[in-house]
Every structure is written in C-alpha cells, then in structure tokens.
Amino acid sequence: MVLIPAHIDNYSARPVAYVNARLFDPSSSLDETGGLLIDRGVISDVGAGVTAARSPDTEIVDCHGHLLIPGLIDMQVFSGEPGFEHLETLGSASAAAASGGVSTIVCKPNTQPVVDDVAIVDFLERRARDTALVNVHTMAALTKGLKGHEMTEIGLLKAAGAVAFSDGPFSIKSAAVFRRLLSYANDFNALVIHHVEDEDLAANGVMHDSEAAMRLGLPGICDAAEVIVLERDIRLVELTGAKYHAAQISCAKSVEVMRAAKARGLPVTCGVSANHLVLNEHDVGTYRTFFKLSPPLRSEDDRQALVAGLDDGTIDVIVSNHEPQDIDGKRRPFAEAAFGAVGLETLLPASLMLYHEGDVKLDRIISALSCTPARLLGLDSGRLEIGAPADFVTVDLGMPWVLEVEKLKSKCQNTAFEDRKLQGHVMKTIVAGRCIHHFEP
C-alpha cells in the first residue's frame, strides 16, 4: 500500500491532460507546443496531439503556453534527517523542493547517525514515503562514520536503495583507500560522488584565496585544494575504471581538468552549484555569511569558466547544494559562521539567469537539471516520454519576480538570493501525476 501524506489532496483517479504547453525535453530534443496525458502516475501520451478537444473523459489543465519540462533532480541536498530536524526535515525539504520545481532529491549521508548502515537507508526510505512530497533518494556513505578509512557495505546499501555513495562534505584523504573504494564500487556498478577538496590545503580557510580575502583579513582556500584532489581522483578512475562524479567544482582549473579527462574517454562527470554559476567572491562583500559556501565562491574568471563548461558539456549537472543553516549558525563572525545556503527554491530561477543572459542554451540548462542526473543515478524519470513517471514542472519562463525570504518553504532562510530580482517562475510541480505545488500569484 502506498501511503499518501495527508496534505496531498490533488490526486485524481481520472486521466489528466496538461494541454497548451511548450513541451521541452532535452533527452529527446523535444520542443513543441502540445500536451501531456497522465494516467495513474505515468505519462501515457505526449506531443502536439494531446489537446483538450481530443481528450474526452479527461481532466484538462491549461498550461497557458508555459514551459513544461521534466521535474528537476537535485543530486546534492542536505535534508536534516536524521539528527538535524531543527534545520530541515524530509517534509520541509520536500516542500521547498516542490516549490522550486524539484521532483526528486538525493539526500547527503552526513546526518546523525551517518547513513552508513542498511537500517538507516531503510529508515529514510520509509520516512520519505510517509512524509515527503517529492521523490527522495538516499546517498549512502562511502566510508564508515565518514571517517575516510573503512569502506561501507556498498553492495548491501545499494540493494537497500542507495542510489550513490559519497562522504558528503568530506574528501577521502588516502589515495589507497579511495582506490579500493572505486574498485569495490565498480563491482556493483555504484556511482561514487566525491567532494574534491584537500583538507590540509583548505585548512581553516573560509573563502576564495584572493585579494578580496586578503583585504577582509580572512583565511583563503586556494583553487589548488580542489584541483589536486580532482586530478588524483581522475588518475585513480583511470586505474580502476569506476564511475566517478565530482560533487561540485568551483574553479576554471577544475573545468580544464574535467575537459581533458573527458577527452580521454574516462567515465568521469561533475556538478556545479547554481550559486557558483551566478555569484562570485565579491558577493561576500562585507562579511555576508550567507555567501559563505563550500566550495567557496571564486573569482569572476572562475565563474565564467564554469558557465562555459556547462555550455560545452564539460559540467554535467547543476545542483542546489541545499544546506539549511539556522540564524545561530550564520549570525556570527564570518570565519566562525557555518558554511552553506538553502537552494532548492532558487535552483531553477538562478540557473535560468544564464539563459536570460544568453550565456547558456536552454536545453543545456534543463538537461543538467533533469535528464543528466537521472542518467547518472539510473533513475527512470527526467524525461517526457510515454511510460516515464509523470514527474514534471510547468514554468513561466519570462515572469519577473523578487525573492522574498519569508515565502521560502525551507525551515531555514539562509539564501544567497535574498531580495534578488529573478526571471522565470515555477507554476506547477507534478510528482507521479499528482500536483504537489501550484503557484497562485
């Protein structure tokens, strides 16, 4: 029996046709006016042929010409459960996701307790089923207790439902340990996701190592801290043949390294956060802790290199890196403040800035937010095709709006886009055929 959370009342047993939409799916190069027919949570028809007139005995939803894209899949979300329920819960994170057009979230393992045991994966699956609005997938730990020494039961964890493996915000220091992890994970065709940052080089740094950091008197994190680990990892991928994904890259040199690795045909992919695509180190301004992120916001040249990397396919996915932090964590001197920003609700509009600026084509952006993460994680969603789960979003691409902090659904309001003018707004979010979010202006 599937339990449906009480607040979902939009379930319809009748087929539903979303008509008069601009259907847009990079996975099948679809871009045409038409509709989507949904029956029992699955897409049963798609295309120009799905219209109100041709769909008798069907509930009709007029999309008013809005963009209709596959639901977003966010590979880097800190959901707070278990152990940090004061920051976020699966319920609140999924409400934020729904509001942001994200139909699937992948939760990081750095919880309390750590997701390094089959029982915790099982707990999260049940908890998500009972409390979450969107699809929730678990990323299990690569090493026991995220300590970087002993590998977790990757085979059993994958069988329990873990879609990827990572040590969350930690890099694995020992190349020997990481080599064996890649070898072992490869036997199970498990995706290894790694935070690329040399712990010793990053040390107590709090922002990009640059003139700005010097003037602010803050310890910096050099880009080499990221590039060294990324290059090491790529050598180990070469040795083991394992599927590898760098969780987030933040600098121009990393883009170069990834581009070269892909040119050599290695099974490597990487992500970037929406924050790093549209913000830079100068946004930190006068010690604004909401811009204290990990990896740090880097120079404008780095940002432009990331945008170019996204445009040419060197960077595969865009993530929110949703990191809720409460006021106690952020209202501190910059060096002492917690890292991270919430991002589920700004993932799409922040990414769309690149489209509106003319920097990146729309299909690259939507692909990096939906079909590519689906492919990396082995999910059935992320596409508008017959038989696929009815996970999709309608978006008013041109709608201007201003982000009001108090309207955020997340338990925490530490956004890097407070009062920012944005363009492009999520109108409806549909998960498994159920409309879980509907924007009312």
Partner: protein, 328 residues
C-alpha cells in the same frame, strides 16, 4: 583399481631421473613431466598411509628441519608426519618474524642451520622470495612451504591430487578459485599447476581482492560468485584473513558472505557433483557455509589426507637427488 604400492614404487624407481630439481621452490619452473611424476609418486603414498604400518626407511639417517618463520598448524604437522613416516629425523623450528629484521637475518638463520648439516629444509616465510633466497645459501634441499603471496607448491599438488583421484583427470575441467586471490599463494600455485594440467581456471572475488592484471595469468576473471561457478567441476574457496574484512579491502564479513560466500544457492550453479575445496583453515559463515563445508560435495578433509602423501612424495623425490655422502 587398487595399485600395489610396492609395484608402483618399483616402477618409478626405474625412472629416477624424472625429477631432477634440487629444490621445490614453486610450481613455476616444473615441467608437466615433473608434476605428473610427483602426483604419481604421491598415489603410492596415499596407499601406504592407509596401511597399518605407515612407516618406511626411505629417509633413514636424513635430517629434515621444518623452519617456519610464519606460524602454521596443518602444513607444519603435515610435513612433520611426512618426514617421520619416511624415517627421517625431523626437527621443528618456529621463528617469529616480529623480532627479526627480514632478509639478512633469514640468511643468518639459514647459515646457522646449514652448519648442522640437515638434508632437507622445509621453509615458510611471510616474504615472497625469502625461501628462494635461503635456498641459494644452503647446501641441502629446500622445500617452499609458502612464501608470502608468491607460492605454496605442495598445496597446489595436493589439490591436484585430490581432484585427479576424485574426477579421474584435470584436463578440460572447469575450476573456480574464489575469494582473496590477491593475497593468496595457494591461488597462484594452483593457477600455475591447474593451467599446466589443462584445466580451465576461473577466479572470482571483489576487485579489491583480485590482482589487477589477473587475466595475464591465463584465467577468466569474475566479480560475481554465481557467474564464476556456473558449470564448474570444482569450486575452490580461499581463506580470507580477518584483518581484511574490516573495511580496508571489503566492508564486512556480512557483505562478503552475502556476495562471495559459498552457500547452497551459489553452489547450485556448479555441476551437480562439483567438488568443494578449501585449503583451510576455514572461516565458516564467511567464505563458506558450514552446510557446504561439511556436505557431500566437500573434499576438504580429503585434501588434508592428500597433503601428507604429497609431502612424502616431494621429500622422497628430492632426497633421491641428494648426494649419498657429503664432503666434509
């Protein structure tokens, strides 16, 4: 057909030159003729060991020293018994490596023992190549009883003898060797010997416990036990050391058992009468299920029995090449 041990030995005595090596350091370097000679000679000792009087005087007057730098129960006692049954004077020396700096001290120990004029040294050492190094420094015959992750030739011979006696041949058999191949001298010697005898050898284990270029040994490599044992005539499980199950090479004994432990389900993919082997000592419930280890397809205890016979054959064969009288 029961073979008269006396007759067999007489026949083999006529082809004395069949085994011409001064030492047995590994399977590597043995010819097919050498291997078959040792296996045939072992057969005679299997017969002898089943008699009431197991004793012979083949090695009377000879001194055999078992020099074990690494602890062992079954191999050491097997060699001890083999030597005693052939009439040799057997001395056991256990030297713990912890107090030694390897290399130089191994030679020192060997030179000291050599001065006592032994005829045969049986040596086990944790470092690959240590036994060969030692053999270069002494004037007696040296048998490798296991050197690091390199070779363990008498184990491979006893495994081959067990299979040959049970299935009548080795050529053409499908044999899966499963588990910690990376650290296993048993696996290396077995791969060399079984390949030499014409078997089709497969290895299976998680990538972390397989040598990187294992295919170069002339084996098929599998990362799933089920797939590896399909249609196999023999399934040979290897021991996995406890210290490798804590997350360094594999996550846990639980996960290892789940994916690589030999239970009834996995064994059902092999031929119905497939032999189950293990060099011992076993981790029951980790690499092998107790029900399988003690089941009708298991020849694990027979392997131990064959071990004594093979070691008698090796001692016998090497002693024939020893000089009758040593120069003072």
């Amino acid at each position: 057909m029961p073979i008269s041990p006396v007759l067999m030995t007489a026949e083999i005595n006529q082809t004395d030159s069949a085994f011409s090596h001064p030492h047995l350091l590994g399977i590597e370097g043995l010819s097919l003729q050498d291997i078959n000679y040792l296996l045939d000679l072992s057969e005679t000792y299997v017969q002898q060991n089943q008699q009431t009087n197991k004793k012979r005087d083949t090695l009377r007057g000879r001194t055999q020293i078992n020099l074990f730098f690494e602890t062992s129960t079954r191999t050491q006692s097997s060699f001890e018994l083999a030597g005693k049954r052939l009439g040799a004077d057997v001395m056991n020396m256990s030297v713990t490596t912890s107090s030694m700096s390897k290399g130089e001290t191994v030679i020192d120990t060997a030179m000291t023992l050599n001065a006592m004029r032994p005829d045969i040294l049986v040596v086990r050492h944790s470092a690959a190549g240590a036994v060969e190094l030692l053999s270069q420094k002494v004037s007696c015959a040296v048998i490798n009883a296991g050197d690091g992750a390199h070779e363990h030739p008498t184990q491979a011979l006893l495994d081959a003898l067990t299979i040959r006696r049970r299935l009548g041949r080795i050529e053409g058999l499908k044999i899966a060797i499963c588990g910690d191949v990376l650290h296993s001298r048993v696996a290396r010697s077995n791969i060399l010997l079984l390949n030499a005898l014409g078997a089709r050898v497969r290895i299976a284990g998680p990538s972390t416990l397989l040598p990187k270029d294992a295919e170069r040994l002339g084996v098929e490599v599998f990362h799933r036990l089920d797939a590896a044992v399909v249609e196999c005539d023999v399934v040979m499980m290897l021991r996995i050391q406890g210290e490798r199950m804590n997350g360094s090479f594999i996550p846990s004994a639980r996960e290892f058992y789940h994916f690589f432990g030999l239970g009834a389900r996995a064994l059902s993919f092999a031929k119905p009468d497939a032999l189950v082997m293990h060099p011992g000592p076993m981790n029951r419930g980790v690499e092998i299920d107790s029900a399988i280890a003690d089941g009708p397809q298991s020849v694990i205890r027979e392997q131990v029995e064959m071990g004594v016979a093979v070691r008698m054959a090796v001692l016998d064969a090497l002693s024939r090449n020893l000089p009758e009288q040593k120069v003072a």
